[in-house]
């Protein structure tokens, strides 16, 4: 087990975005999170990665309580995330984008150069090394965002709707990269995704969030057949393909 949330709740004023979310992510797996818009998926990510602190509950990463830690501290412990709206450092080169991750997240000193080169090579980004991040297309931007996270040397990578806006071919290519990161690097991956087919395809286990609460966790097939999931998320008569 690499990450565990215990009864995590988050309220914004009177709106309860998360209600008693219990989730355990096992080391080395690809764990998918799905649910309708506004179900609290991104809030869950923000709470885990330290952008917000939860109203109540506890978050444990590799046995350490990270509930109250700041975003940068959590990163130093080995957890990195991407954003739904692609974020890179547009005025920096791809290399320097990775350097931010490696310098501040990784704190590795001499190994820095090697780590960046390796990560670039691993994600087939070496040819973009000196390109300015603002000049990249959407797909490459997303890869660079992920590469900067990997350059921190994280053991848990959280991807927030990484497939949004990509074409079918790009989606498949991206999923291959995610599998490679998971298999090759042994990095645990947590994905939020709206495109259900792809999520089912890539995940080892899945969780469905609805109105801020967990309604089902399990292997993708089980989850898709769960009557409650069909009722609130997939809808009646909807085949999950």
């Amino acid at each position: 087990m690499i990450l565990e949330t215990k009864k995590v709740s988050k309220a914004f004023g009177r709106i309860e975005a998360l209600i008693d979310v219990n989730m355990t992510v096992r080391k080395g797996e690809i764990f998918g999170i799905a649910g309708p818009n506004g179900a609290g998926k991104s809030t869950l990510f923000n709470v885990i990665s330290g952008t917000f602190s939860p109203s109540s509950g506890q978050i444990v990463f590799e046995g350490k309580d990270i509930t109250k830690l700041n975003a940068h501290r959590i990163c130093h412990l080995g957890l990195a995330r991407t954003f739904q709206i692609p974020q890179t450092f547009p005025t920096l080169s791809v290399y320097d984008n990775l350097r931010v991750g490696a310098t501040f997240g990784g704190k590795i000193g001499r190994e820095l150069e090697k780590r960046i080169q390796e990560t670039l090579g691993f994600l087939n980004l070496t040819s973009f090394r000196d390109a300015l991040a603002s000049n990249l297309d959407l797909y490459t931007t997303k890869l660079v965002m992920m590469a900067a996270c990997l350059a921190t040397g994280c053991r848990l990578l959280m991807l927030d709707e990484p497939l949004a806006g990509l074409s079918m071919t790009e989606i498949n290519a991206f999923l291959e990269v995610v599998r490679k990161i998971n298999g090759g690097h042994g990095t645990t991956v947590l994905i939020i995704e709206h495109i259900l087919d792809s999520l089912i395809d890539v995940s080892d286990r899945m969780l469905i969030l609805h109105n801020g609460a967990v309604i089902c966790v399990g292997e993708p097939n089980e989850v898709c057949q769960d009557p409650k999931v069909i009722e609130v998320y997939l809808g009646e008569g909807e085949d999950s393909q």
Partner: protein, 242 residues
């Protein structure tokens, strides 16, 4: 069906609109047409330009090229405040309420444009009839409203402008099933009781499909499918997404 459109006046005519965010082209020669009084749904995957199209129509985001005609007049380069005065109201997904003002103040500001100022009274009445719940909360500060209440307020504020064309962006986002029902019920009432033309962008196909008379599909900035709502199923639409 076709006969109906032959006689109806065109309310909004969009031809080959291009729009950018920085370097990124979001709309590519997008074209669509609305007839007076009809409800049209615009579907498409996330991030493919649906919301941008609404922003472009309402003058919040610039169109780089192409033409947008409202009731025959070109509005592609018109400022957002003129467009509101012409009778187009945009109800954003992000709601964009005035957080430190009361519900009533928010509604009054909805009628800021010159044409609507005289009709504040009647429009308020109509809005409160549509959402009685809002009337109970009229002195509450907007930031303390729940998600559903703020959505109702956003829709109501749009109606306060006395618009004849409503552009509604993802009204169901983040709502509980019951609130969704209220919001869609209200849009249905607008459809049945008034001549207001409605263009609605939705992620959840079900509700919008029931409401709409026609459907457009937008993908990678391009409108690539137009159908009468009865002739297309949810599965077909979703299949076209991917």
């Amino acid at each position: 069906m076709n006969d109906k459109y032959a006689t109806a006046t065109t309310a909004l005519d969009i031809q080959k609109v291009d729009s950018f965010y920085g370097e990124l082209q979001v709309l590519r020669k997008a074209s669509l047409k609305l007839h007076e009084g009809e409800v049209v749904a615009l579907f498409g995957p996330n991030g493919h330009g649906k919301s941008t199209l609404l922003k472009v129509i309402s003058g919040i985001h610039p169109a780089v090229s192409g033409s947008i005609k409202y009731m025959g007049a070109e509005i592609a380069k018109t400022s957002s405040q003129k467009i509101v005065e012409l009778g187009i109201a945009y109800i954003p997904e992000a709601r964009n309420l005035f957080p430190d003002m009361t519900v009533l103040e928010n509604l009054r500001l909805g009628a800021y444009n010159r044409r609507a100022r005289g009709m504040v009274g009647e429009n308020l009445e109509y809005v409160f009839a549509l959402f009685p719940h809002l009337e109970e909360r009229k002195d509450q500060i907007a930031i303390t409203l729940s998600g559903g209440e703020s959505r109702m307020l956003a829709v109501s504020r749009g109606l306060m402008s006395g618009a004849s064309l409503l552009l509604i962006d993802e009204p169901s986002i983040g709502l509980s099933p019951i609130t969704k029902k209220t919001v869609f019920g209200a849009i249905e009432k607008i459809k049945n009781e008034t001549d207001i033309t409605v263009l609605i962008v939705e992620q959840e196909v079900d509700n919008a499909l029931k409401l709409a008379e026609r459907v457009y599909l937008l993908k990678r900035g391009q409108v690539f499918l137009e159908k009468v709502a009865d002739e297309i199923s949810k599965a077909e639409i979703e299949k076209a997404y991917f």
